[in-house]
Amino acid sequence: MNNYILMMVTAIFANNILLVRFLGNCPFVGVSTNLDSAIGMSGAALFVNVLSSCITWMVYTFILVPLELEYLKTVAFILVIAALVQLVEIILQKVAPALYRSLGIYLPLITTNCMIFGVAVLNVQQKHTFMQTLVYSIATAIGFDLALIILAGIRERFSLGRIPTLFQGFPVALITAGLMGLCFYGFVGIGQ
C-alpha cells in the first residue's frame, strides 16, 4: 500500500508528467487559455489515460508477449489508442450525452496527446504489474490536470496585466510554465 502512495506522490509532484517529463505539452499550451476548457480537457485526459493504459497493458501482456511480437508495440499501441478514442466518443454520445457535450471537442484532441501514448509505453518499459499500471496512470493524469488547471488560472489573469507585445501569446505562456516547473522542481527528492 505504501508503495502505491509513494508512486502516486512521485508521479504527481516530483516527476510531474508535464513540467518535468515533458509529455503532453501541445494541449498544455494550446488549451490553457481559459479555465473552463482546461477543466474539460483534464476530465477527458484522466478518463482516456486510465482506460488506454489498462487496455494497452493487457494487449502487451496477453497478446504481444506470448506471440513474441514485443517489437510491434509502437504500431499496436497507437492503433489501440486511436480506436479507443473513437469508441469512447461513440459510446459516450449514446450513453451519457451530457458528459459527451462537456468533453466532446477535447476527445479527438486526445489521440495526438503524447501523454496517453507515453504513459502506455512507460508502463511496459518499467514492467509494471496491472495494479501499478492503474495507479500510475491515475497519478500521471492527476499531475497533468493539476499543472494544466494552475496554468489556465494564471493565464486568465494575463488579460489584466500589460504584457510586452513581443511576449504576447506563446512566449509568455512558456515562461510562466518554466516558472511553475521551477516550483515543482522543489519536490524532487520526495520518493525515489
Partner: protein, 207 residues
Amino acid sequence: MARFIQEFTKGLWKEVPPFRFVLGLCPTLAVTGHVSSALGLGCGVIFVLLVSNSLIATFRNFIPSKIRVPVFIVIIASAVTIVELTMEAYFYSLYRVLGIWIPLIVVNCLILGRAEAFARKNNIILSIADGLGMGLGYTLSLMFLASFREIIGAGTWFGIRVMPASYIGFELLQRPPGAFICLGLILAAMNFISMRMEKKETHACAR
C-alpha cells in the same frame, strides 16, 4: 527543379517547424539538454518524415480518404519501429539517452501534419523535398535550442568544453524548467525579428 528547391527551402526558414508553428513541442523541450541527443532525435525524425512522405505520396491515389488517418499512422509507426530497432542495434548509448522519445516520434504532430497537409496532395519527388526540408529545419532548430542550453548551461558543446575552465555554468538551463524559459525567449526573439522585417517592408512600400 525550381519547385523542388522551393519546397526544400521553405522548411528551413519560412515555415521552420517548432518555432513558426508550435508543433512537436514535447521532444523539442525534452531532448535539447545536450546537442548530441538533439542531433540523434533529429536524424530519426528526418528518416521517418522521408519514409512516411514518400510512401504516402506513392499510394495517395489508392488510400480511401475516409480511413486515411489510420493508414497514415500505421505507415508512420512502421517507420518509427525501424528507427527504434536500428538505434538499439547500432547506437545503443544514444538509444539509452533518448529512451521513450524514439517511440514517441509517432505522436509528433509534425509528421502527421506533413502527411495530411502535403504528401497526400503532391507527387513523390516534391514530397521527398518537403520531408527533407522540414526534417532538416526541425533538426537545426532542435540543435540551435540545444546549443544555447548546453553552452550557457554547462559550458560545453557536443561534450567538448568551449567556455573558459573557470566558467561554472548556469545550471537552470540544463534542467527541465530552463527548457520552457529558453523556448519562450527564442519565440519572443523570432517575434522581434519578424516585426522588424515587416516594418522594413511597410517602409519600402510607403516610399
